[in-house]
């Protein structure tokens, strides 16, 4: 019951397209969950449902509240960054801080100014005068100054250069995250966040196809590099995926004993990106 997000048979359709197809999952406190899926898989719809921004069928509670009917109460405990461009373009930094301080009981102006001290942001600057990276810095400073229990990040670093991207996640991890907080993040730049995730959730065609913590993912999945002469033996073990590199085959296995696989060749931990590609094979076909 202490789950931060509790979803049962969550469903949503836009006309004929099914965005979410009876999805069930729980997100526990103190986790950083990566919600990963191809374009149009239903990630954003799921996040919108959690944030009370869209109607849905099924059962959903966030921090014990109904996001549809209690959105304004819920938003005291939940923060949200959508892809970078959503801060109003006319507003000044000073006005944004004053406004947030006025409407948000858990916002600390002092914290926000401390985070901004590391940046080039100036109080009189307007959002429309800033680069994408600066807008992301501003939004992050604003959100990190709010003592919320759930932070939802939807492609927060889209279109940023690698310096800003690295800094973004580093800040988040070092200055914000603790066991009281929960973060849900979606992104296509999986490689950059896989080391900070505690949980992984793959979503495809409106369904959750993988929902596990990173330790279990490590136990379940193994990659083996196999010489051509043993490829047939490897194929017999029903790999998820097979690809060729330098005349060798790389197989990805789900739930096959690691000792057994070691006999076939060199084993290693697959990256989340490889896992993703293997799982989502044929999505756009």
């Amino acid at each position: 019951m202490s789950a931060v997000v509790h979803a049962r048979n969550l469903a949503k359709r836009y006309g004929a397209t099914v965005a979410l197809d009876s999805v069930s999952f729980d997100i526990q406190p103190g986790r950083i969950v990566g919600l990963i899926g191809p374009n149009g898989a239903g990630k954003t719809t799921a996040l919108k449902a959690i944030l009370g921004l869209t109607d849905f069928d099924g059962e959903l509670s966030v921090l014990g509240m109904n996001p549809r009917t209690q959105r304004s109460e819920l938003m005291q405990q939940v923060c949200f960054i959508a892809d970078v461009a959503v801060l109003p373009r006319w507003i000044r930094v000073r006005e944004l801080i004053e406004f947030t301080a006025g409407v948000h009981p858990r916002f600390s102006r002092e914290k926000c100014e401390r985070f901004m001290a590391h940046t080039k942001l100036k109080p009189e600057m307007r959002v429309r005068e800033m680069s994408k990276g600066m807008i992301a810095q501003l939004h992050l400073a604003l959100v990190m100054a709010i003592d919320a229990r759930l932070l939802v990040l939807d492609e927060p670093t889209l279109g940023l250069d690698i310096l800003y991207r690295k800094e973004f996640y580093q800040r988040l991890l070092n200055d914000y995250f603790d066991e009281q907080k929960t973060i849900i993040v979606t992104t296509h730049q999986v490689e950059e966040i896989e080391h900070i995730l505690t949980d992984l959730m793959f979503i495809r065609d409106g369904r959750v196809v993988l929902d596990a913590d990173m330790e279990r993912v490590g136990e379940r999945y193994t990659e083996v590099m196999v010489n051509p002469d043993r490829a047939a033996a490897a194929r017999a073990l029903k790999p998820l995926d097979e690809r060729q590199i330098f005349g060798k085959s790389i197989f990805l296995f789900d739930g096959v004993d690691k000792g057994q696989l070691a006999e076939l060749g060199e084993t290693r931990q697959p990256s989340v990106a490889d896992l993703f590609v293997a799982t989502m094979k044929g999505t756009y076909a």
Binding site: K48, L51, L53, T54, D55, R71, S72, E73, L74, M75, Q76, V78, C79, F80, I81, A82, A85, V86, L87, P88, R89, W90, I91, R92, E95, E98, F99, T100, G102, V103, H104, P105, H139
Partner: protein, 321 residues
């Protein structure tokens, strides 16, 4: 309550150009033009050696009877009201476009996602926009209008003094700028009540439209009016089309114009007016009280409130961002 104040500030920050600078610049430009006009007239008159009908103004006014003076003062008051009319026209355009964009612009540029990520209910958001359109913007406009009136009186006084007329007795004491200013303030709530259907309609369209809110807001009432008139022309069904255009179409589109509750019957009395006093009488306290007794005002206000409620519901449901 603090949240609501912040929301009002937010609206002001975003629309400072329309709410503050538009009326201030209008007033300023009008005063400068008046001054330029006076200078041109003065220079031209001096050069040509013209006197008004061969009489000096000072001689004229010094022979004014008390009744004449009262008439003259009422004329000045009327002029002051007309001056505030300039600001009112500006305010109409500012409010019209403000309301059409109020719940649409942030959806178009997706900043609605930021606003909705804060613990502010949709009801508060929409009501802050109603309060801005009914109180904040009109209050600023009234201040600008009062400034314009005082500035104009000062200019006229200078002109009068230059021509040997005592501005204090003829202009400042005969006219009643304070009561004109007080009436402008008094008109704010009356205008607000009268404007509710327009505010409700524009906000509803603003919350509903996926594109082109201006076209929807204007074409739907006009088309409805055309339809009613068309039925009327067919003679089969008799619909009160004139009153539909006046009480529904015009009300939905133009009632944010301050003073638009002055209707034709009132304006018609102008034709039989005996002097400026009758004109000023249009804005007497009793005729303002009469406006409050009109059923049309209250029916419109109720309809406006209903549309505002619908706009709130629409704001909550729209998730096309």
């Amino acid at each position: 309550m603090n949240t609501f104040l912040c929301l009002l500030k937010r609206e002001y920050w975003e629309h400072r150009g329309g709410f503050l600078w538009a009326p201030v610049w209008t007033a300023g430009i009008f005063l400068v033009l008046s001054l330029m006009g006076m200078v041109v007239g003065e220079v031209g008159a001096r050069r040509a050696g013209v006197q008004v009908n061969g009489v000096r103004l000072g001689d004229l006014t010094s022979h004014m009877s008390a009744e004449d003076l009262a008439q003259f003062g009422a004329g000045v008051d009327m002029a002051l009201f007309s001056l505030s009319g300039i600001i009112a026209i500006v305010l109409f355009f500012v409010l019209f476009f403000y309301l059409i964009g109020a719940l649409y612009d942030d959806r178009r540029d997706r900043s609605v996602l930021f606003w909705k990520s804060l613990p502010v209910s949709d009801t508060q958001t929409v009501l802050s926009k109603v309060a801005t359109a009914t109180l904040v913007a009109p209050a600023i406009a009234v201040i600008a209008a009062i400034g314009l009136m005082l500035g104009f009186l000062v200019l006229v006084s200078l002109f009068a003094a230059l021509h040997g007329v005592n501005p204090v007795t003829t202009i400042w004491m005969a006219s009643s700028p304070l009561s004109v200013a007080a009436k402008l303030v008094l008109l704010i709530p009356i205008n607000a009540l009268w404007a509710l259907p327009c505010i409700g309609w524009l906000l509803l369209v603003s919350a509903y439209a996926k594109r082109a809110p201006f076209l929807i807001a204007t074409l739907v009432p006009v088309f409805a009016g055309v339809l009613v008139s068309w039925f009327d022309l067919m003679q089969g069904i008799h619909l009160p089309d004139v009153s539909f255009w006046k009480n529904v179409v015009a009300r939905l589109l133009f009632s944010v114009a301050p003073g638009s509750w002055m209707d034709m019957t009132q304006l018609r009395t102008l034709e039989h007016a005996n002097g400026p006093q009758d004109l000023v009488g249009l804005l007497s306290l009793s005729s303002l009280a009469e406006v409050l007794t009109r059923p049309g005002l209250w029916i419109g206000a109720v309809a406006g409130a209903a549309m505002i409620a619908a706009a709130i519901a629409m704001r909550r449901r729209r998730d096309d961002s």
